[in-house]
Amino acid sequence: MLHLKNICKTYQTDTIETSALSDINLSIKKGEFISVMGQSGCGKSTLLNIIGLLDQPSSGDFSFAGQPITSYKDKDIAKLRNEKIGFIFQSFHLIPDLRVVDNVELPLLYRNVSAKKRKQMALEALEKVGLSARTQHYPNQLSGGQQQRVAVARAIVGKPKLLLADEPTGNLDSHMGNEIMEIIESLHKDHNTTIVMVTHDEAMAKRTERIIRVFDGQLVH
């Protein structure tokens, strides 16, 4: 599903060059559920951003679903992100001005899907995360756990092949965190979705099939 070969990422300022990732070699199989662990600032979010095509590596080869990513043109990668990838963020990133159902519809807006079909798909996704009763609410009317469930519904509404979760339970208490984790696990089990999850929580990481550890921008085996 994903192949990263000799991936490096450096950030250049006027005077200093900082290396965020160096020489990353990683393959992730289709349907695999892996977690990425490491200390703050070790480069795990950068790795996730590169996998999610939100960021461009400074060097190295990256192929996604058997297709090498050679062009980082806005239009090309926007299409790939839209069709193949779902994101869950630590701080939910819901749009406060849109109702729950409209937030969930968001990825479908950038596809050729009719308004009626969009709504239907959004409602189905919300049902999967157990939020059918909250579709007309605004994000600020929901608890943190409920907001993250909306974010999960948004991530899965477009039926992505790859789900990227950046500390999805980081802002939640253990009870709510557990609820979210159960939903993510069921997605993996029921739909064979490939999932890459960044986490600080060892207990959560142990529930995944494989743990990758990053230290100072390098994978630790």
């Binding site: 806005d74 926007a78 992100r81 839209n82 968001l106 950038y110």
Partner: protein, 415 residues
């Protein structure tokens, strides 16, 4: 998609009430001024009263004479002799009318002092201008030739003299002379400078004929042709006549005068060199465009600033939309839609405010009988202005917002 954009835009406006208010205030103020100016200009260039057919005639109303070395110049209103010698003989115009500028007189009606304006004209004047008759008709060529003491009144003056009774056939005394009223016309707005008056009289009723010998005076001429394309030929004919046939008066060997349409007259007033036959219309149009653009630019820059300041607040939204597949162009489009919506709301408010202001001017009587009726042209121009405004102020912030790096945007920061 559009519905989603509009919904988001509306929510953002409601959430940021102060921002929305400041933006709307700026847009509304600018557009109100522009709409008022456009409607006043439209009223001047496309009058609705007797001058409504102003695309069929030109007006000669100024005369400049200089000596050979251009060291002495006289800028005057033409007298009857000048018009009779150099305008009347022109071949291209189908109808030529000669008439005076306005003259104010006071009279007492039932012990109350009332001021009137008087204009003296020939009979052709009534053929060229399109007056609406309430009663009777204009004086005829024969009455004019014979110097008959006849008068045409506007409606308000007729009512002041005779109330609701018909004025036609009755007499009024003007400057100690008795005139029979032959016609009553609808009030003419003061903005129609060649048609406006309260009372019109034949200039053959002037007490003396000395005006016939005067080069400088209070006369103007109107040159009419049924085919507007011929007006340019009239201008050429008049110019070449002045250049070739002008007979020196004392030391003045050269004369400059112009047959202008309203736009040309306005341009000459502002930019014209009186000792030239040049046409300044294009200069005026360019100047108006530059001034309007600069006038809209200042509030636009303000809006650009306000819009950019919103980036920080909406960075997360931009990041999420990008993460879920929005292209930069789609986001640009979204922010432009937001800006256009806000500007259109401002535009609608501006139309309402400008109508209120113009209605107040109409009602104040500041400019007698003036009316600024709603006009589709002006509406379309205002709408275009509004769109230009929203594009000028919206495109740059939209690009800046949409080009945010998604990773930084999700962190809530800027590159």
């Amino acid at each position: 998609m559009l519905k989603n954009y509009l919904l988001t835009a509306w929510k953002v406006f409601l959430r940021r009430k102060l921002f929305t208010f400041i933006n709307l205030f700026g847009i509304c103020l600018t557009l109100t001024i522009i709409v008022v100016a456009t409607r006043v200009a439209d009223n001047h260039l496309h009058p609705k009263g007797p001058e409504k057919n102003n695309s069929h005639y030109l007006v000669v109303s100024h005369l400049v004479m200089t000596n050979k070395s251009h060291t002495r110049t006289q800028s005057i209103y033409p007298g009857f002799k000048f018009i009779n010698d150099y305008v009347s003989p022109l071949k291209v115009p189908e109808i030529i009318s000669i008439y005076t500028k306005l003259n104010k007189i006071s009279t007492y009606i039932q012990g109350k002092k009332i001021e009137y304006t008087i204009r003296r004209t020939d009979a052709n004047y009534w053929r060229i201008l399109d007056f609406e008759y309430v009663d009777g008709e204009a004086y005829s060529q024969e009455q004019f030739n014979l110097g008959k003491a006849v008068a045409v009144l506007n409606q308000t003056t007729a009512e002041q003299y005779f109330g609701q009774e018909s004025a036609v056939g009755k007499t009024i005394i003007i400057q100690k002379k008795k005139y029979e009223i032959v016609g009553v016309v609808q009030n003419v707005p003061r903005t129609e400078i060649d048609a406006f008056s309260d009372i019109w009289l034949p200039f053959t009723t002037l007490p003396s004929t000395s005006y016939r010998q005067q080069v400088s005076g209070v006369f103007s001429a109107m040159l009419h042709h049924s085919n507007p394309k011929q007006l340019e030929n009239i201008q050429q004919e008049f110019t070449s006549r002045l250049q070739q046939d002008f007979v020196a008066i004392d030391e003045y060997t050269q004369a400059f005068s112009h047959a202008d349409n309203p736009l040309q007259a306005m341009a000459r007033d502002i930019f014209g060199d009186s000792k030239s036959f040049e046409n300044y219309t294009s200069t005026l149009i360019i100047a108006i465009c530059i001034i309007s653009f600069l006038f809209m630019l200042l509030p636009s820059i303000n809006m650009v600033n306000l819009n950019i300041s919103r980036i920080l607040e909406r960075a997360s939204e931009i990041g999420v939309r990008k993460a879920y597949g929005a292209t930069t162009l789609q986001l640009v489009w979204q922010f432009i839609v937001e800006n256009v919506l806000l500007t259109l709301i401002g535009g609608v408010l501006a139309l309402l405010f400008s109508s209120f202001i113009l209605a107040s001017i109409e009602m104040s009587g500041l400019i007698p009988y003036v009316e600024f009726p709603f006009n589709l042209n002006v509406f379309v121009i205002s709408l275009l202005m509004t769109l230009v405004f929203s594009l000028v102020s919206g495109v740059y912030p939209a690009f800046k917002m949409a080009k945010l790096d998604p990773v930084l945007a999700l962190k809530g920061g800027l590159k």
